[in-house]
């Protein structure tokens, strides 16, 4: 046994695989599992000690309280092909679709609820405006009609250009056939779309807020194009029982069961390139791992092209564009994680008792304009008076807190860098702003007094970047959602099809089309491209 004592390092891991994937977030694991199922020898390398990336559930307040530190809402369940292809549920993932999905409570004591039942949702909207309720129903029904087409066209295919899309929509005469789809959507804001179709400012505010929560900022031109899809799946929000991290376990399990491996604490320092081909990676500890067929990066464009690749392997132009042109979200998320001894009881429950059963409650803006005013503040590096949304997963997941207790999450839109002190100032101001968020909540849920909380932990935009450096500048979308950063333009035109200028190097993370969130889209689409290049029979293609 002296061998173990002699060297500082124990036996090294295997040093060659067919495919090496950088990053064990949901995209890395998903792609790895498909490739492993296709018979390839796959290693997924993860910098952190835990797989999952944004699928991160930790007990960051107190033992027994499970907090989803990043992804909390799974909105593409049963829409994303990998959920079925990789038998996610058979691997133990349990999803719940809460009956009361989300709500907005307003300053005047009223409340609007989105239910899993569209009739109830429309009834709730009708209390504000009956016409809006009917409009919403038509929008929802129309979107439901084309949701499969839209998913198949816009999410789970390598992307087309906006131009191609526009041409096709026009050839098919879609805007003449649809009340809500029009070619103009690609230049309009969600605000404008809402103004065109809805009347009540609170209804509009709820929908605008919904868009923003999904990453589609309501005042950004062109994002109206995404709104019909958001409306169509507004009630498809699922909660992963036992925390979002369990999905990571399921994907990892699928990978491992099919012969792949996930290696945690394996920080990639560089990608080895030989004669223009990616041939492996070198870890921060010096370990070299070669990749016989391909190297895939699921982390940020900056890490991949500036940190991992030797300057000689990338054109100066591309390096320049990666430095200056990659677009990140101009706002991030500030979170307060709560260990609680009670459920919130909203004052607005006297208006609509269902708010107390809503999974997520927005401390509602009275109008989109109020929300837009906060965007202006945030973009200037300022902190708005908080109006977070409050998710209480324990309402629907009894395993996420000890019996008799509850786990809570307040999420507030916030800047990454503060005008005063930059991002580093978050370490000082975070706890203070966290208290402000709790006070804002208390105004709507008076029973959330200080003695309701056993412990609180804030998680700032700076923390996002520190925990998951692929989320550059706290960019939880890994790239802005905007017209010039969508589809084949995302993250840069030359990287928009999952291939890169380096042969055998692919991009398959949320930097790619469609975008962040637990969509599985980047991995699924990169898979199609890799299958073509590597000659893999697409067994997953079910037509």
């Amino acid at each position: 046994m002296a061998a173990g004592l002699a060297g500082t390092q124990a036996a090294a891991m295997r040093d060659a695989y067919d495919v090496v994937i950088i990053g064990a977030g949901h995209n890395g694991l998903t792609l790895g599992a498909y490739l492993a199922r296709s018979g390839l020898d796959v290693a997924v390398l993860e910098r952190r000690h835990e797989e999952g990336g944004g699928l991160c559930t930790e007990e960051i307040t107190l033992a027994g309280f499970l907090h989803n530190v990043h992804a909390n809402y799974h909105t593409f369940v049963d829409m994303a092909p990998p959920v079925g292809d990789l038998e996610v549920r058979e691997h133990g993932v349990e999803y719940v679709r809460p009956e009361v999905q989300m709500a907005s409570v307003f300053d005047d004591g009223t409340a609007l609820c989105i239910h899993s039942d569209i009739d109830k949702t429309c009834a709730s909207i009708a209390r504000f405006n009956e016409e809006d309720a009917e409009t919403f129903r038509r929008l929802y029904n129309e979107a439901h009609g084309f949701i499969d087409l839209l998913l198949g066209t816009l999410m789970y295919q390598p992307p087309m250009s906006v131009k191609e899309l526009t041409k096709a929509l026009s050839a098919f005469g879609v805007d003449k056939r649809s009340e809500f789809l029009s070619v103009k959507l690609r230049v309009e804001t969600i605000d404008k779309f809402l103004d065109q179709h809805f009347t009540d400012p609170k209804v509009k505010a709820h929908l605008a807020f919904h868009g923003a929560v999904c990453g589609y900022t309501n005042d950004v031109p062109g994002l109206a194009i995404g709104f019909p899809l958001l409306a169509g799946k507004i009630d498809n929000w699922h909660l992963c029982i036992g925390g979002s991290h369990r999905l990571a376990h399921a994907l990892w399990r699928d990978l491992a069961q099919h012969g792949g491996v996930m290696i945690s604490d394996a920080e990639v320092a560089s990608i080895a390139v030989d004669a223009g081909h990616a041939v492996g990676v070198r870890l921060a500890d010096g370990t070299e791992i070669s990749a016989r067929r391909a190297v895939v990066s699921t982390v940020s464009v900056e890490q991949t092209f500036l940190d991992f690749l030797d300057p000689a392997a990338v054109s100066r132009e591309l390096r320049g564009r990666v430095t200056t042109d990659v677009k990140h979200k101009d706002w991030s998320l500030f979170s307060v994680h709560l260990a609680m001894n009670r459920f919130p009881e909203y004052a607005a429950a006297s208006f609509d008792p269902d708010v107390d059963r809503a999974w997520v409650v927005n401390l509602g803006y009275g109008s989109p304009a109020e929300l837009d005013a906060d965007w202006a503040t945030i973009r200037g590096g300022g902190l708005p008076a908080p109006r977070p949304n409050a998710a209480v997963n324990s309402l629907y997941d009894p395993t996420d807190a000890p019996e008799g207790y509850a786990t809570g999450l307040l999420r507030q839109f916030a800047p990454f860098a503060l005008a005063n002190g930059g991002e580093a100032a978050w370490d000082d101001i975070g706890p203070f702003y966290g208290r402000k968020c709790i006070e804002a909540w208390r105004r709507f849920a008076p029973n959330m007094t200080d003695d309701a909380f056993l412990a609180t932990t804030v998680f700032t935009p700076f923390d996002i970047a520190r925990k998951l450096p692929n989320m550059v500048r706290g960019d939880w979308m890994m790239g802005e959602i905007s017209l010039d950063n969508m589809l084949d333009q995302r993250p840069l035109p030359e990287l928009g099809q999952y291939r890169t200028p380096v042969e055998r190097l692919y991009m398959a993370g949320s930097t790619q089309h469609p975008h962040g969130f637990i969509t599985f889209g980047p991995a699924y689409n990169a898979l199609q491209v890799m299958a073509e290049d590597l000659g893999i029979e697409p067994w997953w293609r079910k037509i």
Partner: protein, 203 residues
């Protein structure tokens, strides 16, 4: 004037499609196999409720080279596209009173396959669909859509008023092609049997 879903009708549709495509420039090379799945919905008198009729259609360089009916359980053929929807919707499209793109947009006909290609070839696709929907002057021996109470896959039972019509259509629609239809492109499955039965009765 061929009757719906008869061999003559399919031949007419094929000719119409091929004629219309001939005028298009830049038709993509290559071959695509499409499967059309018509679900009997009790509204359409042409495919019985609970039954399904599945057809394979082969498109080569924009032209329909062959088509045939297959057993609904027969998935031997590797597909490029699958179109699936209720018979009443397909009937209505063939009658020119429903629009295939509308039907797809409202989810009445489900489309699976490479959407990107369909979008990129929008002009061709539109031409093919228009030809299918409007280029053939179809007869409707068992009644003509729209069927009462049916907007594409709506519940059965509402067809009562139409039921007599459809039966009478059967009685009078003796164009003799029913049996051939059954023989050529049917021959198996509930749908084709229905075609065979009525055809035989009419012969």
């Amino acid at each position: 004037m061929p009757a719906i879903y008869t061999t003559e009708w399919y031949e007419a549709v094929r000719e119409a499609i091929n004629a219309s495509v001939a005028g298009i420039k830049g038709v993509p090379e290559g071959a695509w196999t499409c499967r059309v799945e018509i679900i009997g919905d009790s509204a359409s008198p042409y495919v019985q409720g609970g039954a399904e009729r599945h057809f394979l259609v082969r498109i080569e360089s924009g032209l329909c080279s062959w088509y045939r009916e297959v057993d609904p359980g027969d998935e031997a053929m590797v597909l490029d596209y699958r179109f699936r929807g209720p018979a009443a919707v397909f009937d209505a499209i063939a009658a020119g009173i429903d629009d295939p793109i509308d039907a797809a947009l409202r989810g009445a006909v489900k489309v699976r396959g490479d959407m990107r290609f369909l979008m990129r070839q929008a002009d061709l696709v539109k031409t093919l669909l228009d030809a299918y929907a409007t280029a053939v002057d179809t007869t409707w021996p068992r009644g003509r859509p729209p069927y009462e109470g049916s907007t594409g896959g709506s519940p059965a039972g509402d067809t009562g008023g139409n039921g007599g019509g459809s039966r009478s259509g059967g009685d009078t629609g003796g164009n003799g092609s029913g049996s051939r239809s059954g023989g050529d492109i049917g021959g198996n499955g509930g749908g084709s049997r229905s075609g065979g039965d009525t055809g035989g009765g009419n012969a």
